[in-house]
Amino acid sequence: MRTRLLLGCLALMLLLAGCSGGGDSAGGRITLRFQSLAWQEESVQANEELVKEWNASHPNVKVDYVQGSWDGVHDQLLTSFEGGEAPDIIHDASDDLADFAYGGYLADLTGLLPARLKSDIPQRSWETATFGDGIYGVPFLQEPRVLVANAKWLKQAGVRIPTPERPWSWAEFRKITERLSGGGRYGVAWPLKEPVSATLNLSLSSGGQLFHRDADGKVTVRFGADDEVMPRTVHDQVNADRSASPTTLGSGGSDTLPGFFGGRYAMVPLGFSYRQQIVQQAPKGFDWQVLPAPAGADGLTQGVSPQTLSIAEDSPHKREAAEFIDFLLRPDNMVRLALGDWMLPTGTEALKDPALHTTENDWATGTALAAHLRSAPAQSVRGYPEWKDKIATPAFQEYYSGAIGLDELRERLEEDGNLVLARYQR
């Protein structure tokens, strides 16, 4: 009986092993696998159409479109890289690339990309995907953080409406939110579920760098006066002025929208692409508008982590993959992708497209901010994810909620934070 059972189990295992699904078949021509993370209907459609157009005009280089998922993409890619089964062309975000670039999983695109594409995308965007001496991704879509405002409320309050040419300063923003607040209503609702990236990116406006690289290339955290401006404003709005809702500090952007539509918050700082949700969900007749985020000593500068296209180091067809990326990111195509995702293209030619300069859904306001977008601080700093999760996220959350003061925030970011970073820089 035991022998029978064992044989049965063994036969079953062999049967399963024999039923392999097999690998990709080249069929005499090159087949590239393009894993896209596009998820919104228009965006998926734009990607699929572009792949179809490429396949129609390039019979010898077929591209297979695979829809990936933002959820778990890092682990999925890491496993695929380790197993030698990664897609040839990889859609990701620049802040997720550092480990893959330093780990040798991504191809250095420096010698693969055509001059047209290199010159079309500005240097400040290339910096977001540059690690060491190499370029490991083509940044192609980005979004600034903007203030989405209840236009009627602001008009009734008689406040000056900021423009990209004349934005609010952080101090002016604080005064205005105080003026808009009262009676259970707040001038602003900060959705700070992920407080670190929001804080670091917006702090660039006041010159906050936080991460400082010395001559040896070692990075240390220094939380100086320039870094304090944005966090102190938020802290004071929540805890001193009561002009920012304390309940949304732990919320994501979407969670604040019902309160925004319901007239509880006058403004919500959100990514530019949230406009799509607002268009879909806003009550009929709800008058909203996009305003630039407050400016500091460095104007409207803010950090971004653009979406990127990379090529796997193991891909045997890097040149063809680079040609496909070049095709996908031709100015007209980049505009189609940008419109599909409600984001801004990085390409200077694409940014000139009239569709991105309309007042409809305030595309023009966002486009005017493109020149101010820089590489998000720390995305190339080794140890940043651990610093962010273990040190910075709880420290900022406690500071914003009023549980700790600025001195303790500084102490934790610097002393505890530098201990973490030091482990990665020995």
Partner: protein, 277 residues
């Protein structure tokens, strides 16, 4: 008497509160699935949609191959349940009936194996499956699900086997039944509820599993329902809530239906013989 009634009423209230607590997410999911986008953004959401719509379901089906993914999930879940039970039943029998050192070591290993986090095993597992040419294949995924479900399935079944009195098997042997006959005619029927419960556990585990499917399946036509559901979610957790809720609601139905069909049998079986008459 009055105290008894009060206590009973309190028990019912507690039970009701617990049921509401358990049902709340599912009811909210149903409510969301039938709401138009503008109601999803309402500051004062209602349980019953004010303007119910099927648009979310239409959009979900238009955008993603839900039926195909559901079929893939069904194959993976049924395959995993079947193989897990086929493997776990004889193993559990041996571990329960023969208390040798090996059986004790195996039980310990079953417990220890539960402690390994997913991320620790995924890369070695990927490499093993790649060498077996089982990446991007349903048999490969089923094998992983079986391995993943097997420790708990074993642990469950060992308990069921121990609950079957050995005296029944001894009585059958006295009556002249051979080992196989005893297992088939005496032990197996008594184990049926346990086997069904174990199969259900393996089925639901595989039906809901996301990460292995995400990593191991490369081509869209092989993707399972949990992977397809994440296609309604963008960067930083932004989601297309209506279609996501509609698709998630549909994805939950098979588990519910299977449970509804067999739950009486499971509980009935578990209680059989509990009280000596």
């Amino acid at each position: 008497m009055r105290t008894g009634r009060t206590a009973r009423a309190g028990q019912y209230v507690a039970l009701l509160a617990y049921l509401v607590f358990l049902a709340f997410p599912f009811l909210w999911l149903i409510s969301t699935a039938f709401k138009p986008p503008r109601e999803l953004g309402s500051l004062h959401p209602t349980w019953i949609p004010r303007d119910p719509t099927l648009a979310n379901f239409r959009q979900a089906f238009d955008e993603q191959p839900l039926l195909h993914a559901a079929l893939n999930s069904l194959i993976a879940a049924l395959g995993a349940a079947l193989v897990a039970v086929l493997l776990a039943t004889p193993m559990a029998y041996v571990m329960a009936r023969h208390r040798t050192r090996l059986a004790r070591a195996a039980t310990g290993w079953v417990v220890v194996s539960q402690a390994f986090p997913l991320v620790l095993v995924i890369i070695p597992l990927f490499l093993v499956l790649k060498n077996l040419r089982l990446i991007n294949s349903m048999p490969g995924l089923i094998m992983v699900y079986v391995v993943w479900a097997l420790p708990f399935a074993l642990w469950m079944l060992v308990g069921y086997v121990r609950a079957v009195p050995p005296e029944l098997e001894e009585a059958a042997a006295v009556d002249g039944a051979g080992r196989l006959r005893t297992l088939v005619s005496v032990t197996a029927p008594l184990l049926a509820p346990g086997i069904v419960a174990t199969a259900m556990f393996a089925f639901v585990t595989a039906w809901n599993e996301f990460f292995f499917a995400l990593v191991l399946l490369k081509t869209p036509e092989k993707q399972t329902l949990p992977v397809i559901l994440t296609h309604f979610i963008g960067a930083e957790g932004v989601a297309d809530l209506g279609p996501l809720a509609a698709a998630a609601f549909l994805a939950t139905l098979p588990s519910l239906v299977v449970f509804a069909l067999i739950q009486r049998r499971i509980t009935g079986g578990m209680l059989t013989g509990a009280v000596k008459n």
